[in-house]
C-alpha cells in the first residue's frame, strides 16, 4: 500500500514537472512568435477597485514610500512593492520563475526585450492623461518607438563619483579607471559597478567600441581589460557603493547619477563626472506585464505616478532625475542647475542608451562572470 501511495505521488510530481518543461519553452523568443497582442485582458473587473491589490516590482530606494498611502487613500487600492537589484534579476524572476506583477520599472534595453518577447500590455493612454507632463526628452523613445508600452519614470547617466581629497588629477574620462597611469596610483581604492552591461559597457567605451557591440572580439577585449584592471579594484558592488563612498571607503567609483547626487549631498568632498568617451544614458519606465489581471488599476497607478505633485515627491526622495517637466519646474533652482541631477549640453550628449542585444546578451553575462572569477586571484 505504501509503495502504491509513494508511486502515485512521484507520478503526480513528474507530471507536474513535465508541465514545467513546457512552460520553459516560452523563454525563447521564437516560442510565442505568433502570440500577437496579449493586451487588455485585465479590464473585466474595474467595478470592484477597492478589493484590488497591485503588485509592483521596482528598484530598491526608487520611490517615496509615502506615496503608497496617498494612492490607497485616494483610490482604495493597495500597492505592494517588491524590489530587485538588476534588470536581469527582475527578468528571471518574472519569466523563469513566473512571478506575477502588475507594474514593473525596467530600464530601456530591458523594455525593448520585453516588447520583443510580447511580454507587455500596451497602455491605454486615455487612462493616463498625466502623460502630458512628460518632458520633451521623452517624446520619442528608441526602445518603444510607437510609444505604446512605456511611461518614463526616471533617467540619468552612468559615470564616476570621486573623492576630491583622494583624487587630485581627476579627468572627465574612463582613463581614471582603466588607464594604468591614472588608475594604478589608486589601486585598492576603486569600486566597479556589479552589473554585466554597465561594467563591460564602460570598458568597451574606453576601448573605443560601442557598448551595444555584438562583436565577440570587442567584448572579449573589454573582458580582458576588466581582468587586467582587477588588481586596482577594491570591490564590485551594487548600490552599497553609495554609502561606502559617503563614508570615504574608496577614491573613485562607478555609479548612477541619482545615487551620486545623494552621496554628494551627504559628503561635500564627493563629485561626479560624465566620461567624455561616452557612457550609458538610461531611462527607467513603468510598464504593465501582459499577465496582469488589473490593467485598469495599473494604469491608474501609472497616471498617479506621473502626476506632478507625486513626481515631485519621488524626485525629492529618490534624487534621480525626474521625467516630469512640471515637477522639474517645481524643484528648487539649485537642483535644476546641478549636472548630476539634470545633465545638459556636452554631459547630456555623452549619454547613449543601451539596446537589447538579442541572443548576444548572454555573451555579456558569460564574460562578466569570467571577470569576477578571474579578478579574485
Amino acid at each position: 500500500m505504501k509503495k502504491v501511495i509513494l508511486a502515485a505521488i512521484l507520478l503526480a510530481a513528474i507530471i507536474g514537472f513535465a508541465g514545467c518543461g513546457n512552460n520553459d519553452d516560452d523563454v525563447t523568443p521564437h516560442a510565442n512568435i505568433d502570440g500577437g497582442d496579449t493586451a487588455t485582458q485585465g479590464n473585466e473587473g474595474g467595478s470592484d477597485a477597492a478589493a484590488v491589490t497591485l503588485h509592483a516590482f521596482n528598484w530598491g530606494w526608487f520611490h517615496d514610500p509615502a506615496i503608497e498611502q496617498i494612492f490607497y487613500e485616494e483610490t482604495g487600492i493597495r500597492v505592494l512593492f517588491e524590489f530587485y537589484p538588476t534588470n536581469q534579476e527582475m527578468y528571471n524572476r518574472i519569466v523563469m520563475q513566473g512571478a506575477e506583477f502588475d507594474i514593473l520599472f525596467p530600464s530601456d534595453y530591458m523594455i525593448e526585450r520585453l516588447i520583443l518577447e510580447n511580454r507587455l500590455a500596451p497602455i491605454n493612454w486615455d487612462n493616463v492623461p498625466n502623460r502630458a507632463h512628460l518632458h520633451h526628452y521623452f517624446d520619442h523613445l528608441d526602445f518603444d518607438p510607437q510609444g505604446r508600452y512605456a511611461a518614463p519614470y526616471k533617467w540619468g547617466l552612468f559615470g564616476i563619483l570621486y573623492n576630491r581629497t583622494m583624487v587630485s588629477d581627476m579627468q572627465e574620462s574612463w582613463n581614471m579607471l582603466f588607464h594604468e597611469d591614472y588608475a594604478a596610483p589608486h589601486a585598492g581604492n576603486i569600486y566597479m559597478y556589479a552589473s554585466a552591461r554597465d561594467s563591460l559597457g564602460s570598458a568597451l567605451r574606453w576601448l573605443g567600441y560601442s557598448h551595444n557591440t555584438t562583436d565577440l572580439r570587442e567584448l572579449h577585449a573589454a573582458r580582458d581589460l576588466l581582468i587586467h584592471q582587477g588588481p586596482w579594484v577594491r570591490a564590485y558592488l551594487g548600490d552599497e557603493i553609495r554609502d561606502s563612498m559617503i563614508a570615504g571607503g574608496a577614491a573613485m567609483a562607478q555609479i548612477f547619477s541619482g545615487c551620486a547626487f545623494f552621496a554628494m549631498s551627504e559628503n561635500a568632498d564627493l563629485n561626479f563626472v560624465v566620461p567624455r568617451e561616452g557612457t550609458q544614458l538610461f531611462i527607467d519606465a513603468m510598464v504593465i506585464p501582459a499577465t496582469t489581471r488589473h490593467q485598469a488599476e495599473a494604469e491608474m497607478f501609472i497616471n498617479f505616478m506621473l502626476r506632478p505633485d507625486i513626481a515631485l515627491m519621488n524626485a525629492e526622495w529618490v534624487m534621480y532625475s525626474t521625467t516630469n517637466a512640471t515637477a522639474l519646474e517645481m524643484l528648487p533652482q539649485e537642483w535644476r542647475d546641478m549636472q548630476v541631477f539634470w545633465p545638459t549640453g556636452e554631459n547630456y550628449e555623452r549619454g547613449y542608451s543601451f539596446r537589447d542585444l538579442g541572443a548576444f546578451r548572454n555573451e555579456f553575462y558569460t564574460a562578466y562572470n569570467l571577470v569576477l572569477m578571474m579578478v579574485g586571484g
Binding site: K2, F17, G249, G376
Partner: protein
C-alpha cells in the same frame, strides 16, 4: 503498522521537496536547451565546467579549487576554535553551561544575511575595529584593511559556521561516561594522555558531524563571498547562483550543483570511514 503511518507526512514531504527536486536538478544537468527551445540530452555542461579556458586558465576548475581551499581553511579554523570551546563547556557547572550555550545560539536567532551584513560596518576602513585601533594607536590610516579580501570571506565563514562545529562536539563530549576518564587516570594516564587516547577518540563522531556541517556550506556559500569579498571571490555557490539568477542558465547551474553533491557524498564516505574506524578502535579499547 500505526507507527509506520506516522512516518507518512515526512515521506510525502521528502518526496515532494527532496526527491523530486533532485530528479529535476539531475535532469537539467544532463540536458541543454538551444536557441530554438529544443532540449536534448548532453554532457556539455560538465564538459564546460572542466574545460572552459580564459587567458590560459581553466576558470571553473580554479573556482572549485578556491572554494575547496576556503572551505578547508574555515573547517580547520572552526575546529581549532570550536573544540576547546566545546571541551571547556562540558567542564562547566550546569548554570554556566546554559549561559555559554545561550551566548552561542543567541546570534543565530538573527537572520544570517543581517549578521553577515553587520560585518561590513565592523570591518570597513573607517568601521568599528579600525576606529578603535586608529584612536588607540594614534594613526590616521586603517590598521586592519581586510574587507573585500579572502581573509574577510574566511572570517565570515568561520563566524557563521562555528556553532555548527561546537554543538556536535559538545554533544558527543557530554555523552561520554566520566568513569572512562577515571579508569584511564586509575591506570596511570596523565591529563594529556587521557585526552589524547580516551577523550578525543570518543569525540570523533562529533568532530565528523561538525566537519560535515561546516565544510560543504563553506564551499556552497555565495552570500558571504558576495558581501564580504566584494564579489571578487567567486565560489561554487556563486557559479550556481549566477547561473540561475543572472544568466537564467538552469542547465549549467544544475550541473555544478550535481558536482557539488557528488563532492559532498564523497567527503561523507571518507568521513564515515574515519568514524567507523574509530568506533572499532573504541570497542576494542572498551
Amino acid at each position: 503498522m500505526i507507527k509506520r503511518a506516522f512516518a507518512y507526512p515526512y515521506i510525502i514531504w521528502m518526496v515532494i521537496f527532496i526527491v523530486v527536486p533532485l530528479i529535476l536538478v539531475g535532469y537539467y544537468a544532463i540536458t541543454v536547451t538551444d536557441f530554438y527551445g529544443y532540449t536534448t540530452f548532453s554532457m556539455a555542461n560538465f564538459r564546460r565546467f572542466f574545460t572552459e579556458q580564459v587567458m590560459g586558465n581553466r576558470v571553473f576548475v580554479s573556482v572549485a579549487t578556491r572554494s575547496l581551499r576556503l572551505a578547508l581553511q574555515s573547517t580547520l579554523l572552526c575546529f581549532a576554535i570550536g573544540y576547546p570551546v566545546a571541551y571547556i563547556m562540558t567542564r562547566k557547572e550546569y548554570s554556566e553551561k546554559s549561559v555559554l550555550i545561550f551566548l552561542l545560539l543567541a546570534p543565530m536567532w538573527m537572520n544570517f544575511l543581517v549578521r553577515t551584513y553587520a560585518w561590513l560596518t565592523i570591518l570597513e576602513r573607517n568601521g568599528l575595529i579600525n576606529n578603535v585601533l586608529m584612536r588607540l594607536m594614534n594613526r590616521d590610516t586603517p590598521v586592519i584593511d581586510i574587507l573585500y579580501t579572502d581573509a574577510a570571506v574566511l572570517l565570515g565563514m568561520v563566524y557563521n559556521f562555528l556553532p555548527f562545529m561546537i554543538l556536535p562536539i559538545y554533544t558527543s563530549l557530554k555523552k561520554m561516561d566520566p568513569r572512562l576518564i577515571e579508569a584511564a587516570q586509575d591506570l596511570g594516564a596523565g591529563g594529556f594522555n587521557t585526552f589524547l587516547r580516551v577523550v578525543f577518540p570518543l569525540s570523533i563522531p562529533g568532530v565528523v558531524s561538525g566537519i560535515t556541517m561546516v565544510f560543504m556550506p563553506g564551499a556552497a556559500t555565495f552570500v558571504i563571498s558576495n558581501l564580504l569579498g566584494g564579489r571578487q571571490f567567486f565560489l561554487l555557490g556563486n557559479v550556481v547562483e549566477s547561473s540561475f539568477i543572472q544568466q537564467g542558465d538552469w542547465h549549467f547551474g544544475s550541473a555544478v550543483a550535481v558536482l557539488m553533491m557528488l563532492m559532498m557524498v564523497a567527503s561523507m564516505v571518507v568521513l564515515s570511514f574515519f568514524d567507523k574506524g574509530e568506533n572499532q578502535g573504541r570497542s576494542a579499547m572498551i
